[in-house]
Symmetry: C2
Subunit: 196 residues, 2 copies
Amino acid sequence: MPRGRPREFDTDAAVERAMGVFWSRGYHGTSLPDLLAATNLSRGSLYAAFGDKHGLFLRALDRYIDDALARTDRELDPGKNALAGLRSCLVGYVDRTSGIAGMRGCLVVATAMELAAHDAEVAQRIQRFLKGMETRMTAALARAQAAGELAEGVEPATAARLLLCLLEGMRVVGKTAPDRALSQTMVETVINRLAH
Amino acid sequence: MPRGRPREFDTDAAVERAMGVFWSRGYHGTSLPDLLAATNLSRGSLYAAFGDKHGLFLRALDRYIDDALARTDRELDPGKNALAGLRSCLVGYVDRTSGIAGMRGCLVVATAMELAAHDAEVAQRIQRFLKGMETRMTAALARAQAAGELAEGVEPATAARLLLCLLEGMRVVGKTAPDRALSQTMVETVINRLAH
DNA sequence: CTATATATGGACCATTCGGTCGTGAAAGAA
DNA sequence: TTCTTTCACGACCGAATGGTCCATATATAG
């Protein structure tokens, strides 16, 4: 059994707060003082717990990706209707890419554009997220197809890639053009075209 | 008539080289020495010509956007068939988001994610690009519809927003998942669904 | 109690940041 | 020629960067 003073701060909470800072400022745009203020940690504690800025960033990115994939798993729960799940997934993105929420953007997309080309550890995580989303949507579309709910000639893999690009594109467009109504009808149109 | 030594360096060429650096490293990831090396300018010359780093960045961003919109104008030339123009536009994005080219990414998308939320001058330019792309595609779709080439129930404005999100999403996905074949069939599928 | 382990806060480090300035060379216009 | 303008080079600036270290306080285990 370990002796001595136990860890007093909540590591997960610190990661979550750091995630918020990286999310709104980007990796290079976030300074150590920014992170110290957000986490309420001292320099020594932060470096002892996470190694360095990059290590903390990876932790935050992992956290973000885990959350996003878990939410998608909930929305595309195989127990529920597949098409309804995809619809709620898309509608969720409409919410997250409209108005103020839309301007917050997406940590994965921002990180992909900022670091993926020069940072293999980051690139691998981005790939994990994108592949994860794509396979989940492919599976949901396949279930919809098996249930006879898909329109003629709709290939699950192809449609999943389309939805993936659509979702990530919404995050980009949502950064400055939060036209909620048009996004909403766009998503409905896509779903209606996919379904029969 | 002006007297004295004439300007010896090509301002536009310097902007273009700076654009390349910002493109691959991002705004915060690009240092003054990076820009000096890329442009072959001295510190004094660069500041005299562009004011500061931010000013040079805006010039580079404007240049990038102008180029992109001009290319789209060429592809969606009203003199040609509208649907064929849209197809070549999408195919061009497949090229630009696959393999090595895909990993280069897009300056507009990267800038939107990195700076748009905190920089009004940047946000306005991102909006100019997105609006410009959307209106051009809306117009092309309207021409296709007028020519009776569009499938039943396809609304130009809605479809244009869909294509806009699709294209920007391809830039994101292309950063790490350069699956050319799937992108290609996805684009073909979309066009075929749009057309009758 | 003592020993151990973990926190804090801040001093401190070398490096790099964006930005300013002055000197001197170079070249066209008068 | 002489004047004027623009360039390159590099020293220089204060501030901020990411990162290390240490003295101290505190709380638990033995």
